[in-house]
Symmetry: C2
Subunit: 545 residues, 2 copies
């Protein structure tokens, strides 16, 4: 009888010492629980993704030493641990490696074959692929080891209209003839709200194909943009058992006495928990404690405040309410109500006098030009100045409250409301924010209903509404989704029933404001295509297609 420990842990990128100690602690725990094998996730010793830290040779050597240290902690147990190995031959300098460790020895090394190099992934930048499966025997069981993307053999390329296989190599097909009893996949697979379904469908399919027990171990934790949800899973023919999402977990699997469970189904539960973990880890791993944010009276900042309170504690969140001459009464009263209901401290600091002083100072240089977006931006930037001053003076970290719809259309002020150390909602469309607000309010009205019901407005000039400038959010977001997430062409979106002029205008905005997004904070990624490293658009360009 084989007992396997799924060790689903939260690693800090670069913290080889801390990660190694954590792995060793879990090996000890699994040994105590009489497990035969303990499985850890991809690149566990350095955390995923280490990016260009991999070009530091001291870092590489430390990662390799860490594996040797972990091996010595394996007494009567095998550990399968993700790390890196040097490539002695031609090609990229490293292998993305699964080490099989036992009694101080490295029994086996498996090198990853399929190296994701798309969206947020750049593995071909660092690693050389290696096309040789690993199966080893232990307690009369044949155990195959693979790494994450290796099972994504049926991935299609990113052109929706071409859609042919992305890889030449099919490790599952090669394993078929060897009849493994257990297929282990160690992974670092980031969350997106479409990824969960996609991931388990691939894992289920692979399990069926090989007709074996499949054990998939993912990491959890967030690193400024990517959020890893965990959701490690054990699948056999009669059912599956899924570990916790968004939390560390140690699950012991008795291969002969499997137990099964169900996964949560509500998409907004996943998104909310992902964002919460994103904030929590950003603070914890950076050694930050307190957050500050501006509350406008609108739904975006209200949601960020509540997410932050849930992530790091309401006592660690402070809000600034910064009215101008254009602010509505309710923008302040609603924000106060929000703070009270959620026990968030706040100050009210008017920007009027500073705004007047700025206007007075700059007027001689404005050459009697009419008020325009300049004055709107000045207001937004004074608020940023206040927030950053508060942040600097008190050591609070500024949370950004921009949403994906406005980031996509350039409807925000650079160095103004686009400031912040972390963009919490930059990958969440406005229509999704309403859904999240409803989700938050499902048990009690934490967000005052007036905040949800009022028409969105930046309140930077009299009676301004978002709808003066932008199409209705339901249309805007649907078109943006097809342009960004689905990479559809203008023609195909129009042919699906949208107004041509509207689609073209949105397309124009999307490509016009890359320069603003370039200087935006890192965005917590919850969709299959977020702004950031996963979407690389030239800054200087002319778009004719």
């Amino acid at each position: 009888m084989l007992r396997i420990a799924i060790c689903q842990l939260n690693y800090t990128v670069g913290d080889i010492e801390g990660n190694t100690q954590k792995i060793i602690n879990y090996i000890h725990a699994a040994t105590e629980k009489k497990c035969d094998i303990a499985v850890f996730s991809e690149l566990a010793v350095c955390g995923y993704p280490p990016y260009d830290l991999l070009f530091n040779s001291a870092f590489v050597n430390d990662c390799i030493s860490a594996i040797e240290k972990i091996a010595t902690s394996c007494k009567n147990i095998i550990a399968i641990v993700g790390g890196i190995d040097k490539n002695p031959g031609e090609g990229k300098p490293l292998f993305n490696t699964a080490f099989v460790l036992h009694r101080g020895q490295i029994l086996h090394r498996y090198y990853k074959a399929l190296l994701p190099t798309y969206d947020v992934f750049d593995e071909a930048r660092y690693f050389e692929p290696f096309y040789e499966p690993l199966i080893f025997e232990y307690h009369q069981k044949k155990i195959a080891v693979t790494i994450c993307e290796d099972l994504w053999t049926k991935s299609l390329d990113q052109h929706p209209d071409i859609g042919k296989p992305l890889y030449h190599y099919d490790i599952v097909a090669r394993l078929l003839s060897q009849h493994p009893d257990v297929l282990v996949n160690i992974a670092a697979s980031p969350f997106s709200y479409t990824q969960i379904k996609h991931r388990y469908s691939i894992l289920n399919e692979t399990q069926k194909q090989l007709n074996c027990t499949l054990i998939y171990v993912n990491q959890i934790g967030s690193h400024a943009d990517l959020i890893f949800d965990g959701g490690s899973v054990y699948i056999e023919s009669n059912g599956s058992y899924t570990c916790k999402f968004f939390d560390e977990d140690l699950e012991i699997i008795d291969l002969e006495k499997p137990s099964f469970n169900l996964r949560p189904e509500n998409t907004y539960w996943y998104i909310y928990e992902a964002l919460k973990l994103g904030i929590k880890d950003f603070f914890q791993k950076n050694g930050f404690k307190k957050a500050v944010l501006g509350l406008s009276g609108g739904i975006d900042s209200a949601l960020v405040a509540i997410l932050a309170a849930d992530a790091i504690g309401h006592e660690n969140v402070h809000a600034l309410l910064m009215p101008s001459q254009y602010s509505s009464e309710h923008s302040i009263s609603d924000s106060i109500e929000l703070c009270k209901r959620n026990q968030i401290s706040y100050n009210i600091i008017s920007i009027k006098s500073v705004f007047n002083e700025v206007e007075k100072t700059l007027l001689p240089y404005f050459q009697s030009k009419n008020p325009d977006v300049t004055e709107e931006n000045i207001q937004s930037r004074i608020r940023a100045l206040f927030l950053m001053a508060y942040s600097n003076k008190h050591g609070h970290v500024l949370l950004n409250t921009s949403n994906k719809s406005e980031m996509a259309t350039g409807y925000g002020t650079l160095y103004g409301d686009m400031c912040g150390a972390l963009s919490v909602l930059g990958d969440v469309y406005k229509t999704q924010i309403y859904q999240l607000a409803t989700y938050v309010n499902s048990e009690k009205e934490r967000i005052p209903i007036n905040i949800i019901k009022k028409p969105p407005s930046a309140e930077l000039r009299p009676n301004q509404k978002d709808s003066d400038t932008l199409p209705d959010y339901s249309i805007l977001d649907a078109i943006l989704f097809q342009l960004i997430e689905q990479q559809q062409t203008i023609d195909s979106i129009v042919s699906s029933g949208y107004d041509k002029q509207t689609v073209e205008k949105i397309y124009q905005w999307l490509y016009q404001f890359d320069y603003k997004r370039f200087q935006a904070p890192p965005v917590l990624r919850i969709s299959p295509k977020a702004f950031g490293l996963g979407r690389r658009i030239p800054l200087v360009k002319k778009i004719t297609s």
Copy 2:
């Protein structure tokens, strides 16, 4: 007798229509000059690098149609043009392609074999490699076609201590037995001050190895960060002829009557011209006309002002001089002198009254804490607010004046002096800025000598000097260079003779302030390792190596 036209052109990324028309115009010009072959650079039809525009299927189709259109413009001439082709098989969706065009037909397609995927390059994200050389015959000459990196067969990987070949495939070795008369290499090779030497040494070596005529065609032009210098070259056994740097060029080569020339040698000439082109193209390709910048009285902003004046015309550059209570007399008088000598318009706008109003407004919320970096940042951010207001009101584009030494050490204010649409000097160390200033002043004193001679200071508190916080720039820059450009470890730098504590402190700074650089403007790249896409460091991390 074979006449070959080297068409070294400036393309705009994404402007398929404009690029195509330009290529056709040059084919006509080359035809008129009785050339047999006209050679254009890599990915000429879409400009390099197109990044994720390649995932837009309309864009891909337009690129392919462009090649067909260009083919029809080739009457009695062959054109070798860089473009893209679809990969009908497994793997990445596209091939990076050199098309050989003649009389309306695509005679040959050569697909790039070596796809750079390091530093700023991500070609494995888009392209499938293809390992088959192309040699075709024309006028009794055997002509081999390759694309850029294909000749970089002897590149080493990025670990200085490993240093083994990066590629498995050696196209030059394969071409040897086929004895080509001419080797064409179409390229898109960005400038760095080390790249020039490296590039011609590889090309010379290849020419010697194959003992044939080598024709290398690079693009020129800049795209926000990458600057392409041109420098296309014709090499044969007796010498070489190099085209213009940093400008378009059409050179006709008579294979039987070669002429030779020499390349410029002064490194600072290259760097200055590169930065000038970087600014010029950023404005021209974006449709911008005028620039604004803040003049502090220091050397960095003085140099940016002069570069901008040379790039887009002094009449299009406007400076703001924004003294505070901590500004020295000379900071204003020196800046005025600089503006006068270089015919740059300026305004003097004191930040004092706004600073006082901000202090008065925020004081109640500062809980009687002592003045600290908060007040310094407020000053820097008020200046940014003024500059951006000027930019918004008058349509001037803000140029950033931060240098590489301060960006590396986090010695700058986010949303303050780190603002701007383009970082002109973000890849230039302070010590290099002094060299550039000397270069600028070599004929006449355009930069008042007092600006060069004064000790660097941010002037954000009484008697502040950079040297209060930072090591001497000659030491700082030398250590940063080893950390960034050479990717050396702390140990190896210390063993080369630097103080351990100093090296560790600089290392600490370098990795501590990635979050600031993440929100910095795009940086014109002139070194082998610039901040930006070429250097990907995790934002949330713990560094133990």
